[in-house]
Amino acid sequence: MAITIKEVEYIARLANLEFSPEEKERFTHQLSQIIDYMGQLQQLDTEGVEPTSHIIPVSNVFREDRVRPSLPREESIKNAPDKGEGFVKVPKFLET
């Protein structure tokens, strides 16, 4: 088993997710399988092969610096569970 339950908890915290004990168990198993498979891939000799982040040979796709209409505000914050005065609201937190 490549992954421990502690690591699953850590990743869940980073992703802001909460899991039940059963889910944690299941994900530990599933993530381990994925990592094991990566381990298998790692055995391949990739000497001299450039890491690939994009498989299509395209670069420099640009847009011109022109303003286009934005969404109406009602639309853009429609899905927020809490809103008011044009803002999205979240439970109070402070930086200090």
Partner: protein, 480 residues
Amino acid sequence: MDYEAVIGLEIHAQLLTASKLFCGCSTRFGDPPNHNTCPICLGMPGVLPVLNRKAVEFALRMAVALHCRTNPFCRFARKNYFYPDLPKGYQISQYELPLAEGGYIDIEVDQTKKRIGITRVHLEEDAGKLLHEGLTESDSKSYIDFNRCGIPLIEIVSEPEIRTSEEAYEYLTQLKTILQYLEICSGNMEEGSLRCDANISIRPAGSSEFMTKTELKNMNTFRGVQRALDYEIKRQAEVVEKGGAIERETRLWDASQQVTIPMRGKEEEHDYRYFPEPDLVPLVTDESWVEEVAHTLPELPTAKRDRFIREYEIPKYDAEILTQSSPLADYYEQCVGYCHNSKAASNWIMVEILRKLKEDNIDIEQCPLSPRALAELISLIDKGTISGKIAKEVFEDMYQSQRSASEIVQEKGLVQITDQEEIRRVVSQVVESNPKQLEQYRRGQTRVFGFFMGQVMKATQGKANPQLVNKILKEILDSS
């Protein structure tokens, strides 16, 4: 023990593009909240960001100005973290292969030149804005405005080569001036279009070790950066002196208390799990593009300052002030172009114009007096039409009324009296009506010369040519 500080600065500069980095939303400042957002900058599923070419050009300008080597092949990366101001749950930034690396800025503190290395310059998007106060439910809620989300930023990271708070201040000021000369950032720290974080540690003077550092945030003015660093150097030295250990932490500058305090509440893990942004193709900045940018780069502050010293033969101090902003430097050059008196133009601008602008809290661009109008005034002095003293009065009038110098001089009858006979007449009159002072002068009390001088100037409302008055007064007094 003597300590020295090891400081590195991380600067974020908002680029002056019209639209955001990856979408067409406006970057306008001060719009109503959540007015400039779209599915792309809100991070809705299935949308595709497309890179703003102008933002790349602006970033390249800075990279070239800072003598960086640009990476011909670079890419964007996702920086993953959860925070309410980041709707996507990641920020599109650059990690490996940033736009540019390895540059420098030359600064000068106490007449000593120093080169500060630039580690990297990269492009990234801004996050939204959080409001914790002033709204209906501010006691229990934080409010989010996503207008700022996706506005292009360049991050400029310095090498940890800054040793004092003065050097940091100088570095920051230079960087701001360059950004403004390049017309790619407003450079306004109070408005947040320029932000500065600092990494700082201390070590025994002369040591080459790196000790535990703290990260300083929330410094909203240039002086604030300097004061926060001063405070932190002192604080760390005190901890070490007492045998304590510096904790690796983020501290916030509290400008009202003038202290740094540990940041609480946001103890999120700094595990950003960067990976290449799959939605954006690589950015290739080939040599011809970089060359094109280099060719169109304006003259930069230091080069301009040196040219002013050389070409206009003005002191370094003058040249430094006049090149603080590109519009001010232009104003000066235009003025000299009309009046051909570089030293006088420098004096008038540094003393009178800058004083007025400060009083009115405006920039040189809003100055009611054109360089040509000021030049005319200087020429009137140079031709002897008015005295320097009268010129001050004319200047005030010009600044208020925006009328030309010659118009004011004519109308108010301020033309300098250079007619020797007329001056002689006034001088004789003054000498005759002050027998007591004349007696004193005869007895060798030459100090009263100044008194006579003042009386003559008063009698002519300051219009008499002072050199002529001086000469004639001496003649008359000595022969009386």
